[in-house]
Symmetry: C2
Subunit: 444 residues, 2 copies
């Protein structure tokens, strides 16, 4: 917002939808804007995937690969291939069968391709699920706190409440979850779903252990709500070895709506995500269908269908790697593992155990994010200072707490930094910590 | 909806969002399903663009053309080009400057590219505008009736009312518009915008004359609402010669939010549309920005950004035709003109003036659609009969009237039929009309 005087205004933001006056939104803009203003600062704030393996030359080949798949596996003639890629098409998408194969191979999830809705990024999948489930203002969603801002944003767009549930070191505070569900019912409302990222969460890096996952599925059944499992980082495990199964892989009672993203595993430029919604939906007038078909109806009123051209390019990449995103991301996985190791080692070296620096951090088993606790308030003003004076960017954790929290925490991301940047960035972070300790000392 | 019994239901549709129980939605599914069941019927129902010039081989070239544009016109280096196409990107899009050129060349509309938001199809643009403007349940939107179902669907998703305004042969019933605005205010609500397709409307084929456009702009100013101008068919004029200017071209007071689609003019498979929203939005706390930036914030919570890969392919096509969609669509324009002429001539021959057949129709000056009035009820049951017995598909006009209307009318579309199909289809329509007349006669 800048420039002309309010006298010539056509509209007032206060008369537009309340989500536009939400401070959370301003704050996200601020973060983007700081990164833009200090391009030389070490980008520990960026959540986007690494770019070093982006390959524009592969795109025409992906298109051709997908066309060949349509012709050979789906028996499409030339006209049908053209129509599939260029015409209006199936609302639920055209790569649903490939995604079902990917889920089987990478995640051990068995789903009917008909229960998959391909979406304009995972953000749309989130929106569709919330719109379907939160019918009236009585319907609220629960979310792990700290939470991904996209979930909060989608709920705000729909004027729906998000009730926070505390996170623990190994999962979710299940007692708090049960208490919140009871509190929601006590005020006459209905808990519809609980949103979380069980693997290498954004922003916290947290992963649920197996027992917590099973307990969570049990609670969802007992208290009658769904689980919205968001899994953008699952394949980016920091060590070799078996992964803890996703909630959806453990889901025997169709309690989980699985939200998938290809942004980090294919390329963000496709904007392709999906929802797996195999819940059976009945009408009191008779007839039963899949929740996926209800989400598809909502999608028809929102974006009609997901660009088949974008789907074809993502689909071509899937096909060229035998529908395994683990296989497709070997190079990226190696980069993220190296960076995560460098970051954690670098933190240990700079902030040794037993010293009174007041700095601590968690040790995620994968993904992009580490949370660092510092002995000062890590807010937007401090970020601005850190960017300007020390040339290192990070994300204040307070942005991810809807109702307050995380004041002394910051999120570091390892997804787009080089090994040199990790070291430089940590040196600069150390300088910031020392400067703040000095100031606090001087103030005593 | 089919198969299993309700005893094993996970959810009930009646407890999901009310838009999912809307009869209008079922009806659209029915239309798709009828077309699917009778593939040999003449497709006078299809609203999709003709496919004969679809060219898969052009796609890699479009990508290259757009990359060259980024390099030469925007000064991007190789890394920036890769990032622009494959990484997360600008929420408002990457083809805004090309679209501004297109609007200038094809429509005489001068806009700052910063006031353009590129969207996941025009449907998303519609949704963004409604979400921004209709802040609370007090905020309602007006729409010309009969209306495009996408507008009604987007409003339903947001639990917002759509008040109908009657259409006339040459535009909109302005007296009815004023009366509806007064009625809205009388019940304590706020009319935020009036939606219409001023050129070759879907479903009616109607176009507003110049005087009606000017009067409409005046009324919007006097009564303080915006105009949502949807223009997917504007370049498909049926005769050579000057076009009536769009509302946006006549808009001196920023009263018009222009909704653009590339589905009919580039290819539906890109799913790229846009909104032009140059309204100045002030905050009471100070500061002024563009409505486009507010729509962009909403988009960040809905789909994040529009697939840059899809934008690049549409952008490449724009560039290869000097950013003129009129030029890019010469072949398509010729097909639609020929089909429209054949349809209107064919109707005249089969239902000659002065004969007691009870059949009449309008004469659109462009676009895809003609409305035919028939002496029987043209509802879903009749469509099913028409498809099964006579092998001709059309769309009951009643689907486009939210509050009832169009019972004796059907919409014929000329966009995907061959000349032979026009003749066969009209013969079959004649047979249907004669059969119904015979039945009515027998029933007397």
């Amino acid at each position: 917002m800048n420039a002309p005087s309010t006298t010539e205004a056509d509209l007032f933001v206060e008369e537009l939808h309340p989500s536009l006056s939400d401070p959370g939104l301003e704050t996200m803009n601020f973060l983007n804007e700081v990164a833009h203003r200090f391009p030389k600062a070490v980008p520990f704030a960026a959540g986007r995937p690494c770019e070093e393996f982006f390959d524009l030359d592969a795109l025409p080949r992906y298109l051709t690969t997908f066309q060949r798949y349509l012709a050979t596996e789906k028996g499409a003639d030339e006209r049908q291939v053209r129509r599939t890629l260029l015409q209006y098409g199936r609302t639920k998408g055209i790569i649903h069968e490939l995604l079902a194969r990917t889920l089987r191979l990478d995640e051990g999830i068995e789903v009917d391709p008909e229960s998959i809705v391909v979406t304009a990024g995972c953000q749309e999948a989130m929106f569709l699920a919330l719109r379907a489930l939160c019918a009236s203002e009585q319907d609220v969603v629960l979310a792990v706190s700290p939470s991904y801002v996209g979930l909060t944003g989608a709920a705000r767009l729909l004027d729906r409440e998000v009730w926070p549930v505390r996170e623990t070191a190994h999962g979710v505070d299940l007692d708090h979850l049960v208490a919140q569900v009871a509190a929601i019912r006590a005020v006459g409302k209905r808990p519809r779903a609980f949103y979380l990222v069980p693997d290498f969460a954004n922003p916290s890096g947290m992963s649920l252990d197996l027992d917590s996952r099973k307990a969570l599925l049990d609670l969802a059944g007992q208290h009658d709500f769904l689980l919205l499992e968001d899994n953008p980082y699952g394949v980016f495990q920091a060590e070799d070895g078996p992964r803890v199964p996703t909630l959806k892989a453990l889901d025997t009672d169709r309690r989980v709506v699985y939200l998938g993203s290809l942004a980090k595993t294919c390329f963000p430029g496709a904007r392709v995500g999906y929802a797996v919604a195999d819940q059976l939906v009945s009408s009191r007038h008779g007839g039963t269908g899949l929740l996926a078909d209800e989400l598809s109806k909502i999608k028809s009123m929102l974006t009609v269908n997901t660009s088949p051209l974008a789907q074809a390019m993502a689909g071509g990449k899937l096909l060229e790697h035998g529908c395994s995103l683990v296989r497709a991301n070997q190079a990226e996985i190696a980069v993220y593992r190296r960076n995560m190791r460098l970051l954690l080692d670098g933190l240990r070296r700079r902030f040794p155990a037993g010293q009174p620096h007041g700095v601590s951090w968690n040790t995620p088993s994968g993904g992009f994010f580490v949370v660092v606790t510092v002995p000062f308030v890590a807010d937007d003003a401090m970020l601005e200072h850190s960017a300007r004076r020390h040339e290192v960017l990070w994300t204040p954790m307070s942005h991810f707490y809807d109702g307050g929290g995380g004041a002394n925490q910051l999120r570091l991301s390892i997804s787009v930094v080089t090994p040199e940047q990790v070291e430089t960035g940590l040196d600069r972070l150390l300088a910031l910590v020392e400067e703040q300790a000095h100031r606090a000392g001087a103030g005593n």
